[in-house]
C-alpha cells in the first residue's frame, strides 16, 4: 500500500464514508450533516487536484483487488478518467451546497444526502474503473444509489417515475452484463487501455465482437438516453431539482456517455471499431437522437421536461464525437462531457430556483422573470446560449471541434446535423429568454415562497448557478489555457490516437 494505490481508493471512499455516516445522522442535526457533506466533498476535491497534477505528469495511479481468480476490481487514473472525476467532484460540491439550501425544512434529509453521496461514489468509481468488470460494478451501483433519489418525494408520481427509471436501467444493465461476460470469455479480463485492446483480434471473431458491441451499446445507451432507450429520462423529472441536476449533468446520463467513450476508445479502439463498421451505427444513432431530442423539446411547456429533452439531444454530441474517426472530433466529444455538464447543471439549478422561489414550473409562466430574478435569469441565459453554441460560451467550443473533426474525416453530413441541431436549440431556448427578459411580469407569481431579501432568493440557491454559469464562460473564454477542459481533451485525444 502506497500513496499511488491509496489515492484512487481515497477518492471513491471520501463520499462513500461520508454517505455511510450521513445515514446514521439524526434528522434534526443539520450542522453535523452539513459538515459531513461538505468535508467529504472538499477532501475529495483536494485529492482530485493531486491526481490531476500527477496524471498530467505521466504518473500512474492504480489499485487492484482480486475478487476471484481472473476477476479483479481495478481503480486507475488515466487522462479520460481524470476528466470525468474532476467534473463529478466539482459539481458534487456545488450541488451539495445547492441541495442543502433547496431541501431546507423538507423531510428525510439524512436518507437523501446518504444516497446522494453514494451516487457520487458510484460515479467516481465509474470514472476510475480500470477494466470492464469494475465499470459494470459501479454502473449497477449507480442505478441502485439513484433509485431512492428519484423516488425521494414519495408521491405516486415519484414512485411511478422511479419505477420506469428502474425498468429501463435494469434492462440495460443485464444487456451490458451479458456483453461484458461474453467479451470476458472471448479475450480474458478486459482492461481499459488507451488505443484499445481488441485491434489484433482474429477475423473469425469479428461477428461475435460486433454482437458484443451492440449489447454493450444497448446497455450504455439506456443511461446515456440514446433513442429508442431514452424514455425514462423525461419521466424521472419528478425528482427534486438537485437530483435532476446531478442526474442530467454528471451522474447517470454522463455515466452512459462515458461508458460509450470507454468502449469505443479503450476497448475496441476507435480505428478498429471503425473498420468493423460500428462507428457508422453509433453515428446514426447519435445523430437521430440529437435531432429527435431537440424536436421533442420544442413542444414541451414544462420547463424541466424541456430541459430533459434537451439533455437527450445534447448528451449525444459526446457519442457523435466518438463516432467520427479522427483526433479533432475526439476532442469535441470528450470536451462536451464537461461542457454539457456545467451548462446543463446551471439550467437545472435555475429551473429549481424559479420553482422554489416563485412557483414557476412552466415556460408559459416565465414572462418577465428576468426582472424579479435577474441573477438567476442571467445564469440561465448563459447556459441556454451556450447550448445553442454562441461564442464565447463553452458549447461553442464543442460544436467548433465537432465540425472541424467532421471536415477532417470527410463526414460532411455531420455539419448538417450540427446546423440543424443548433437551429432547433435556438428554437426552444430563445423563446424562453425572450419571455424572461422582454415580456412584462405578471401581477402575482404562481406561488411566491421566498420573499426577496438582500438577494432575489436564498444565497445557497443563488450562488451555485452563478458559479457554474461563470464556469461555462471561463471554459469558453480561456479554452486555450493550461488545464482547461479543452486542453485536457486534447491531451486525451493525443494519447488515444497515439500522436
Amino acid at each position: 500500500m502506497n500513496f499511488d494505490t491509496l489515492l484512487p481508493v481515497g477518492i471513491v471512499l471520501t463520499s462513500l464514508l461520508a454517505g455511510g455516516f450521513i445515514f446514521l445522522v439524526k434528522e434534526e442535526s443539520h450542522v453535523l450533516r452539513g459538515v459531513l457533506n461538505l468535508s467529504g466533498a472538499i477532501v475529495k476535491l483536494l485529492l482530485v487536484g493531486v491526481m490531476i497534477w500527477g496524471v498530467y505528469h505521466g504518473h500512474v495511479y492504480e489499485a487492484r483487488w482480486t475478487l476471484a481468480p481472473g476477476l479483479e476490481l481495478v481503480l486507475q487514473a488515466d487522462a479520460l478518467s481524470v476528466l470525468f472525476v474532476t467534473l463529478s467532484s466539482v459539481l458534487w460540491l456545488v450541488t451539495t451546497i445547492y441541495a442543502i439550501g433547496y431541501l431546507e425544512d423538507s423531510p428525510n434529509r439524512s436518507r437523501f444526502f446518504g444516497f446522494f453521496s453514494l451516487c457520487v461514489s458510484a460515479t467516481v468509481g465509474i470514472a476510475l474503473a480500470g477494466n470492464l468488470l469494475s465499470f459494470v460494478i459501479f454502473y449497477e451501483l449507480l442505478t441502485l444509489a439513484t433509485y431512492p433519489l428519484v423516488a425521494h418525494r414519495g408521491t405516486a408520481e415519484a414512485t411511478r417515475g422511479a419505477k420506469i427509471y428502474l425498468a429501463y436501467t435494469m434492462g440495460g444493465g443485464v444487456l451490458l452484463l451479458i456483453g461484458a461476460i461474453w467479451l470476458h470469455v472471448l479475450t480474458g479480463p478486459v482492461d481499459f487501455v488507451q488505443g484499445g485492446v481488441l485491434s489484433g483480434s482474429a477475423p473469425a471473431l469479428e461477428g461475435q465482437l460486433i454482437a458484443i458491441f451492440v449489447l454493450l451499446l444497448a446497455g450504455l445507451g439506456v443511461k446515456s438516453a440514446l433513442i429508442p432507450l431514452h424514455g425514462w429520462l423525461p419521466q424521472s423529472m419528478v425528482a427534486p431539482a438537485p437530483v435532476s441536476a446531478l442526474l442530467h449533468a454528471v451522474a447517470v446520463v454522463k455515466a452512459g456517455a462515458f461508458g460509450i467513450l470507454r468502449v469505443v476508445y479503450d476497448v475496441y479502439g476507435v480505428a478498429y471499431a471503425s473498420s468493423l463498421g460500428l462507428l457508422t451505427l453509433l453515428g446514426i444513432l447519435a445523430s437521430t437522437t440529437i435531432l429527435y431530442g431537440s424536436i421533442k423539446a420544442l413542444s414541451q411547456d414544462g420547463l424541466k421536461k424541456r430541459l430533459a429533452y434537451s439533455t437527450v439531444s445534447q448528451v449525444s454530441y459526446i457519442a457523435l464525437g466518438a463516432s467520427i474517426l479522427g483526433p479533432i472530433a475526439t476532442v469535441g466529444g470528450m470536451v462536451h462531457l464537461v461542457h454539457q455538464g456545467i451548462m446543463k447543471i446551471t439550467l437545472f439549478f435555475c429551473a429549481g430556483n424559479y420553482a422554489e422561489t416563485l412557483g414557476i414550473h412552466h415556460v408559459s409562466q416565465m414572462d418577465g422573470v428576468g426582472r424579479r430574478m435577474p441573477w438567476t435569469t442571467l445564469a440561465f441565459s448563459v447556459g441556454a446560449l451556450g447550448m445553442i453554441g454562441i461564442p464565447p460560451i463553452a458549447g461553442f467550443v464543442t460544436k467548433w471541434y465537432l465540425g472541424l473533426g467532421a471536415v477532417e474525416a470527410n463526414a460532411h453530413w455531420v455539419l448538417l446535423i450540427l446546423a440543424a441541431s443548433s437551429l432547433l436549440n435556438a428554437g426552444y431556448f430563445l423563446p424562453i429568454l425572450y419571455r424572461a427578459w422582454f415580456r412584462p411580469p405578471p401581477e402575482v407569481w404562481p406561488a411566491e415562497h421566498l420573499h426577496a431579501g438582500r438577494f432575489e432568493t436564498q444565497g445557497t440557491l443563488l450562488w451555485p448557478p452563478v458559479i457554474t454559469a461563470a464556469l461555462c464562460l471561463i471554459a469558453g473564454l480561456f479554452a486555450a489555457a493550461p488545464f482547461s477542459p479543452l486542453e485536457w481533451a486534447q491531451l486525451i485525444a493525443r494519447r488515444e490516437h497515439g500522436l
Partner: protein, 480 residues
C-alpha cells in the same frame, strides 16, 4: 486434545440441555450457547483454512463402520455460514421472543437443530447423514409450528410428511449402495461405485428424496406455506440453512459418491428443473401478496440457480474453470443464506411494526423503519445478483461457464430470473417510499435490527469483495 469436529456437534447439544434445565435464564444461556457454538464451528473452518481437510473418528471404530466426521473446504464454508447466520438469528431471537411461553420452547429446539445441522455438514458416512437429516427435519418442523396457529400447524404437518418421505427415499438409496458395495463411507463408496442399474437406482432415489427436502422444482409445493407461516427467526433458519443442507447433500453425493456415473443427461435434467424453478419461483414471488411469502418463493428461485451449475460442472473438464464454477456455486449458496436470513428477519420486524406483512399496505416503512428497509434493500441486491454482492460474482462465473461450454440458453433463464427478481424486490421497496413523516433515528431496536442488517450487509458487500477467500478455503488455485 479436544476433537474440534466433535465439539462442533456436541457444544450445541450441551446448550440444548442447559436451556432445558434452566428455563429461568433461557435468554442469557441462549446467547452464550450461540456464541460458543459459533466459535467451535468457526474453529473448524479456521483449521481447514490452515491445514486442509480434517477427519476424525470419535467412536474409534474406523472406516468402514465408524461414526466418522470430516470437514473439507465445502463443508467448512457452509459451517462458517451456518455459524454466523445462526448467531445473528440467536441475537435477534432474544429480542423477538422477549416474553411468553414460546421462548421456552424455542431455545432447546433451536440448539438441537443447530447440532443436527453441524453434524450433517460434517458427517462422513451415508447412514449418519440419514440420521442427521431426520433430526434436522424433525426439529425444523417443531420450530415451524411454534406459533400454534392453524395455518402453521397444517403447513408443518405437510412439511413433516414430505420430509419423512424424502428421507425414507434417501434411505432406500443408501440401502441399495450398502448391499452392493458393503460400505457407508462416502469416500469408499465413491471409489467403489461402478455404472449399473443399482448405482443408477441409488442415484435417482437419493437425489429424488433430497430434492424433495431441498424443494427443487416441482417438489417445492410444501415450502412456501411452511416458510411463510413460521415465526421470523425460524423462517430465516429454514430458508437460509435447512433447505441449503439438503442441497449440500445432493452436491456432496454428486461430487463424491456418484461422480463417476452421473451422465450429462442427468445433470441436464437437474439444470432444467433449476431453470423452471428460477422462472416459476421468481414469478410467484412477484405475484405474492405477503412479504414472507415473497421471500419463500424467492428461495425456490435461488435454489434453482444453484441447480443450473450441475450441467455446467458436468460439461467442464477438471481444472481451474471447474474449480471456479464449484466455488461460485458455494458462493451463491452462502450469499443467499445470509441474504435470505436477513430478509426474513427484516420481514419479521415489518410484521411486528405494521401488524401484518401485506406488501400493498407497507407504505411508509422506509420512514418508520429505516434500518429495516435498508436491510430489505441490501438483501434484495443479493437476490437480484447486483454488485457488489456475492451472488453477482457467482452469476458472473455461472454465465461465463454457460458461454464457455456453449450452453447459452441458461443465459436467457438467468436474464429473465434477474429481471423478475428486480421486479419483486423493487415492488416491495417502491411501496416503502411515501410521504409519511421522517424517522428520528436510523435504528430503533438494536437487538433485532442490527443482526438483520449485518446479515444483509455481509451478503451484499462482504461476500462479494471477499469472495477470493472462498477459493482459498476450498483449496482452489493460488490467488495472487
Amino acid at each position: 486434545m479436544l476433537d474440534s469436529l466433535a465439539l462442533a456437534v456436541t457444544v450445541p447439544l450441551l446448550a440444548a440441555l442447559l436451556v432445558t434445565a434452566l428455563p429461568g435464564r433461557v435468554q442469557t444461556l441462549g446467547v452464550i450457547g450461540a456464541i460458543a457454538t459459533a466459535l467451535v464451528s468457526l474453529r473448524v473452518t479456521v483449521q481447514v483454512w490452515q491445514h486442509g481437510s480434517l477427519r476424525s473418528d470419535p467412536g474409534g471404530w474406523g472406516a468402514p463402520l465408524g461414526l466418522a466426521l470430516q470437514a473439507d473446504g465445502l463443508s467448512a464454508a457452509l459451517l462458517a455460514m451456518a455459524a454466523l447466520v445462526a448467531l445473528a438469528i440467536s441475537v435477534y431471537a432474544t429480542g423477538y421472543f422477549r416474553e411468553g411461553e414460546r421462548r421456552l420452547h424455542f431455545w432447546p429446539l433451536w440448539f438441537l437443530l443447530w447440532s443436527a445441522l453441524n453434524a450433517l455438514l460434517l458427517a462422513a458416512d451415508l447412514f449418519n447423514l440419514y440420521v442427521t437429516l431426520e433430526l434436522l427435519g424433525l426439529t425444523a418442523v417443531a420450530l415451524g409450528a411454534l406459533t400454534g396457529q392453524r395455518e402453521a400447524v397444517a403447513a408443518n404437518l405437510r412439511y413433516l410428511l414430505v420430509g419423512l418421505l424424502g428421507s425414507m427415499t434417501y434411505l432406500l438409496g443408501v440401502v441399495l449402495l450398502y448391499a452392493a458395495y458393503g460400505t457407508l463411507d462416502i469416500g469408499l463408496t465413491g471409489a467403489a461405485i461402478r455404472p449399473g442399474p443399482v448405482a443408477s437406482a441409488a442415484l435417482v432415489l437419493m437425489t429424488g428424496g433430497l430434492a424433495l427436502k431441498a424443494a427443487i422444482f416441482p417438489l417445492h409445493f410444501w415450502l412456501p406455506p411452511a416458510h411463510a407461516n413460521a415465526p421470523a427467526p425460524v423462517s430465516a433458519v429454514l430458508s437460509a440453512l435447512v433447505v441449503k443442507a439438503a442441497f449440500y447433500l445432493i452436491l456432496r453425493l454428486w461430487l463424491d459418491v456418484f461422480g463417476a456415473i452421473v451422465t450429462p443427461a442427468a445433470a441436464g435434467l437437474l439444470g432444467l428443473l433449476g431453470a423452471a424453478a428460477v422462472i416459476w419461483g421468481s414469478w410467484r414471488a412477484l405475484r405474492a401478496e405477503r412479504l414472507k411469502l415473497l421471500a419463500a418463493y424467492s428461495t425456490l428461485a435461488q435454489i434453482g440457480y444453484l441447480c443450473l451449475f450441475f450441467p455446467l460442472l458436468q460439461a467442464t473438464p477438471e481444472g481451474p474453470a471447474r474449480d471456479d464454477l464449484l466455488a461460485a456455486l458455494v458462493l451463491m449458496a452462502i450469499s443467499h443464506g445470509f441474504a435470505k436470513a436477513g430478509l426474513f428477519l427484516a420481514a419479521g420486524l415489518v410484521q411486528h411494526s405494521a401488524g401484518h406483512d401485506r406488501i400493498d399496505e407497507l407504505g411508509g416503512t422506509a420512514q418508520h423503519l429505516p434500518a429495516t428497509t435498508f436491510t430489505i434493500a441490501l438483501a434484495g441486491t443479493t437476490l437480484i445478483g447486483l454488485p457488489p454482492s456475492g451472488s453477482f460474482i457467482g452469476k458472473w462465473i455461472l454465465m461465463t461457464g454457460a458461454i464457455a461450454t456453449g450452453q447459452w440458453w441458461w443465459i436467457l433463464v438467468i436474464l429473465i430470473g434477474t429481471l423478475l427478481a428486480a421486479a419483486y424486490v423493487f415492488r416491495v421497496l417502491s411501496r416503502a417510499f411515501n410521504e409519511a413523516p421522517t424517522p428520528r433515528r436510523f435504528v430503533t431496536q438494536a437487538s433485532t435490527e442490527v443482526p438483520a442488517l449485518l446479515l444483509a450487509l455481509t451478503s451484499a458487500v462482504v461476500l462479494g469483495l471477499g469472495a477470493q477467500l472462498l477459493w482459498r478455503l476450498m483449496g482452489f488455485g493460488v490467488v495472487a
